[in-house]
Amino acid sequence: MRIVVCIKLVPDPEAPVSAFSIEEPEKVVIEDYVPWFFGPYDESAIEAALRLKEEYGGEVILLSLDPTDIGEKMVEAMATGADRSILVEDRNYDRTDSYGAARTLAAAIRKIGHVDLVLCGRQASDTDAGIVAPALAGFLDCASVAVVRSISNTNGSLVVEQQSGEGTRTLEVFLPAVLSVTSENYTLRYASLASIMEAAEKEVQVWEIPELLSENLTPGEKPYLRCLSAQIPDTGVECKIIDGDSEEAKVNNLFAELQRDRIL
């Protein structure tokens, strides 16, 4: 099975709200001290791919857009067990443009050829959009299942468990397919130092955009989503820290406060 995992470098999802500011009207500025990673759901997608390869054989290819500063992170990701990686260089790359990303990824996947399965994280930690995976399937016109908790190959068919309402849908999916992965069963393994050094020796292919996009859609024909304005909501709350000489005293004081404030 040839599996492509689409991954995106995003600012640390644990970054505090103080790291964000808005440049009118809609540009979000992030402080320089915030490190950038592949988001937690993207990591789950890589882990899911690696497990499928271990169990059923095949090839895992990491695919990403915007190679700026991505080199080191890509090597670390490769070191977990992927076979190769491809970076698509686009001077106009806009990481807030989910549909644009999906179009480019679709073109890259067609160029790779004979791809059986595409895995993505369920949503990127910057846009929180959840658009790329199903949109990518829309461009490829193939099977699409979003928010999948587990993937297996049972009797030659791909079987997935999808998070749905108050439970799970188990589906047989016909390849080729695009799945978006959620994190609860897939935590990305650590890469050993030896494998990181080995991965650093592997070549990363860099592709350029113009040769990829075969369709020439006029601006009006492209699907798009545009952010018109952004703000940082004020969520600060005045917290009463409950003190006490002992832990028992703290709890007693807490209950006294709650009763006094008519909460209990």
């Binding site: 979000v28 199903p134 108050e166 989503l225 969520t235 917290c239 709890v251």
Partner: protein, 328 residues
């Protein structure tokens, strides 16, 4: 202006989420001289159609086909595209932000060459541009953005929001229009083998008025047993952060946050939870938030109303005793 709602039914009854969409759509249609429509796909169409009239829809399109009994992304997208080829494309099409919304909407958007914004908490209309705008939190909820899309229909999935659905004015001359389309089984790319539901018995998080929630600081499944005891003593239920779920300490259905459930309890006790924005996004409407965490620098102490800086393993048993004594 045509405002359409993608309606869903569960065992023949229109879902609460769909009712909320009609309340929203009806409000927009009323304010901007629009016509409210409903779209139903699948076999239980007819019964749902009648209910949608009560929710204020003027026109209801029912697309009935045996293959639509089970949701499959591309098939449903095909069905909607066929519907829009036979009847006017609406200006706005609203979906619930649920499994169907997440699966179908971006796929459909691409095939319609229209954009879509998912997980919106509100929707407004700009009379100058004639475009609808969706409010969508991102960066884990740290930032809130106003988004718009191109082309018709403008597609949005709406987060379940406790919207008031009580009053709807029933339109005059309502029409239920059955739409027949061609679909064949070779078009199906995925099929449902099994559906399982989370075990009943534990209270639904979204309805709970007291929630005791655990995060990475809990350290294991045993800790959650303690939280369940406290929840029981307070007449509430247990929730969790994504870290705790990913660690395997509690079922995914208990997850609260941007990619989990949105809760609105009177009392939310956050135990061993750091207070990361994507978690707080799921519980920030709680009336009172109490934090128990042994890290005084934890961001939770900027989001909670009351805080105790201590090891939860010592605090929670004391809280259980206190709560049980209160009950008597």
């Amino acid at each position: 202006m045509k405002i359409a709602v993608y309606a869903e039914a569960d065992k023949g009854s229109v879902t609460t989420e769909t009712k909320e969409l009609f309340a929203l759509g009806g409000q927009l249609a009323g304010a901007y001289n629009g016509e409210l429509q409903g779209i139903v796909l699948g076999s239980c169409c007819l019964a749902a159609g009648e209910q949608l009239i009560q929710l204020g829809a003027k026109t209801i399109y029912t697309v009935e086909h045996p293959l639509l009994d089970s949701f499959e992304t591309r098939l449903y997208a095909r069905a909607l595209i066929a519907l829009f080829q036979k009847h006017t494309t609406p200006d706005l099409l609203l979906f619930s932000h649920n499994q169907t919304g997440r699966d179908l909407v971006p796929f459909l958007a691409v095939q319609l060459k229209a954009g879509a914004c998912l997980d919106c908490t509100d929707l407004t209309f700009n009379e100058k541009t004639g475009l609808f705008h969706g409010v969508h939190p991102f960066y884990g909820g740290n930032v809130v953005g106003l988004y718009t899309t191109n082309n018709k229909p403008q597609l949005f999935t709406m987060r379940k929001g406790g919207r008031d659905c009580t009053y709807q004015s029933v339109a005059n001359n309502t029409e239920i229009i059955p739409v027949s389309i061609e679909l064949n089984s070779t078009q199906i790319l995925a099929r449902v083998i099994k559906r399982t539901f989370a075990p009943p018995g534990e209270d639904k998080l979204e309805d709970a008025s007291v929630i005791v929630s655990g995060g990475r600081g809990i350290g294991g499944t045993e800790g959650f047993a303690l939280l369940r005891e406290l929840a029981a003593a307070l007449g509430g239920t247990v929730g969790a952060s994504r870290s705790a779920v990913d660690a395997g300490w509690i079922e995914a259905e208990r997850q609260i946050g941007l990619t989990g459930k949105f809760v609105n309890p009177d009392l939310y006790i956050a135990v061993g939870i750091s207070g990361a924005t994507q978690h707080m996004a799921g519980c920030s409407t709680a009336k009172t938030i109490i934090a128990v965490n042994r890290d005084p620098e934890s961001p939770i102490f900027r989001r909670a109303h009351y805080g105790i800086i201590a090891d939860y393993k010592n605090i929670i048993p004391l809280m259980i005793k206190k709560s049980q004594r209160q009950k008597c």
